[in-house]
Symmetry: C2
Subunit: 392 residues, 2 copies
């Protein structure tokens, strides 16, 4: 097993009515002025945004608001947020939303606390030295950004989708009330469940001698999400199922399921980033659409892991050979995705990229041939293109 | 399921040679003077203490040292530490050792950062408002104090063993090198494994509607510790087994395995505290000695949990009735304890309390009849006495 660092300092306040504790949580932070950052209309329509603002007013906390964050959050909105914060001497960012809003809040936090262009941190030409403190009121179980060190932003100039990972952006507190996710459309719910699953699957498939402790946690997490994603398809106001998926979402991406690994594969995420940059698809759905093609392309490199995944996560009966068990596991995963109405191909995802578009995505994904992606098999530009084609 | 808070901000630096990172970790804390706190001779003999002090010197960090912490750490040593820190303007406590040293460091941290008598916080007549920052170099997998909010101290006046739980004492960083535990005597290793197990078992047995996510993590953790405790009995320098148990030890007591529960039972811990106060037994061994007697006394109150424990943790084949399956689980747990040379009775623990001594422990445990202990069944003074007798 590998050495590791584990650092997940976010205070999680989980359960019914927990947004009522928001005022006190903000006050604990000792800040003077808050940016309330949010996405589209749902936070307004549901009344959540109003309740959040009332909490701040009750604590005599000054605030400004900035909405309009979209899925695959944009650099232009981040720049708008940075300017607004600087103008108003904001010293705390409260994200009310899901991964896109939180990632945008983190980018704003970097932009305000560091000199120069914030995109540098995502283009990986500089490393951030500070970040404004950030709090979260979570409205979708998906990205796990509420406990992760990660932020992903799309630069409209070239539609580059790039991530920045740094402990500085770890959220101070996250208010998680599963009831706030009751009204999500089924497609968003299930896309979110897929995202949660994939954060652990990316870590689970690796080239390390894995810890039993980490594998046990990961397998329990994946089983829990698979079971409850099915329940939510027909029973979206099932509190227990919403809660299981929401808590799994945070644990899936806070580092816990990567302890002792080599960091994991992440090729599917890299390939989906390009899909998201070019076509603006739902992140989880994009991951589902490429996963099985990736799995079949690489599985001979780590047959033991694919076999273990099939048996311990999907309940596949062991076959005569590891190969067969692994293949059945991949089929079972595809069947699961279909059962929750997630795509298992680009066509089912609703996109039909041309040969040239696939070549462009493969080129961008491999940084013009300057890097490989993944660790189960190190995929070069040609491998990535093959997987896009197989996923068609 | 219950609402919960989860807050485990400790930075874990885990693996081989990680104590070499100590200097940098201390420097990050921005402190000026360190108390290096430790136990008996092993930290000196092994050369670990020297290496720790060299790391501090390399960072030009001033320090004072205080050794001599004993199992069931004493209030007199805590008071000595508080005086030493005040004299020397110490602003950071580095615990080099296991749970006893860490708990003593936490108590010193409270004593320095608050006015008045530190015992007040353990007697629960006052709540601490601050704590010095604390770091850890862990030398035994057992108490989980390196990530927990808990500290337990024994007051020699009356031999009262009392705990104080507060987020303020959560450790800033914990250096965990499993190799540092190679030289532990088998009895301490296995007593430590029992302690690790019991921190999750105490949470697992409760009266809540439990989260699947939490149960899955808990069951994986318990299976991992049971398997690796057996390995360590014959192969104490097995790095993987040492690492599994060490990481399980931290996760078992950092709050993770309690999420969504009612907090858990903890009656065995309360009963063992009295054993430890009166007889100075190894904590884990004391827990093993009373567990089965407790389990048989209370299991009809939560047969479903005892059944699930038997099947999912101990691999018991389900019998015709839940009662039988549960009973077989308790027997399997006793067999496991015996297999790692842990006691399953007070006699096997090596003590033979008189009737009067048991009455005194039951009286102290129930605060002169002023409280019950446990949640699976709320045990009064008479119940506690019955369990001590059954455990004889």
């Amino acid at each position: 097993m590998n050495n590791f660092q584990y650092y997940a300092p976010t205070k999680v306040v989980f359960g019914k009515d927990t947004e009522k504790e928001l005022g006190a949580l903000i006050k604990e932070q000792g800040c003077r002025k808050v940016l309330v950052h949010y996405g589209g209309n749902s936070a307004q329509k549901s009344g959540l945004l109003d309740r959040v603002c009332r909490s701040l007013e009750q604590e005599n906390m000054e605030y400004v608001t900035l909405g309009g964050v979209v899925p695959n959050p944009r650099l232009s909105k981040v720049r708008e947020g940075i300017a607004l914060c600087k103008e108003n001497q904001v010293d705390f960012v409260l994200a009310v939303g899901g991964g896109s809003v939180i990632d945008s809040a983190k980018a704003i936090g970097y932009g305000v606390a560091n000199e120069g262009d914030v995109w540098d941190f995502y283009a990986k030409v500089r490393v951030p030295q500070a970040c404004l403190p950030i709090g979260v009121v979570l409205t979708i179980a998906a990205a796990g950004s509420e406990m992760s060190d990660s932020s992903v932003i799309t630069n409209e100039a070239g539609w580059l989708k790039r991530g920045c990972n740094n402990n500085l952006c770890r959220v101070k507190f996250a208010v998680m009330n599963p009831e706030l996710t009751y009204t999500l459309p089924a497609y968003q719910t299930e896309s979110g469940c897929t995202d949660v699953l994939m954060h652990t699957m990316e870590r689970y498939f690796n080239q390390a001698d894995n810890m039993e402790m980490t594998d046990g946690i990961s397998e329990a997490l994946m089983r829990t999400v698979i079971k409850n994603a099915k329940i939510l398809l027909t029973d979206p106001e099932n509190y227990e199922a919403r809660a299981e998926v929401m808590w799994a979402g945070s644990l899936s991406h806070n580092g816990l399921t990567g302890c002792g690994t080599d960091g994991g594969d992440w090729a599917c995420h890299q390939m989906e980033h390009e899909l998201g940059g070019m076509f603006d698809v739902a992140h989880g759905a994009g991951l589902a659409a490429v996963w099985a093609s990736w799995a079949r392309y690489v599985c001979q490199e780590r047959m033991d892991r694919f076999e273990k995944f099939a048996v311990n996560v999907l309940g596949v009966e062991p076959a005569e050979t590891a190969e067969k068990t692994a293949a059945r596991g991949i089929e079972a995963m595809e069947a699961f995705y279909r059962s929750i109405q997630m795509p298992t191909s680009l066509t089912e995802l609703g996109i039909d990229p041309t040969e040239e578009q696939m070549q462009e995505m493969a080129r961008k994904c491999s940084w013009d041939g300057g890097r490989t992606v993944g660790v189960v098999k190190k995929l070069d530009q040609g491998d990535v293109l093959e997987i896009y084609k197989a996923a068609r």
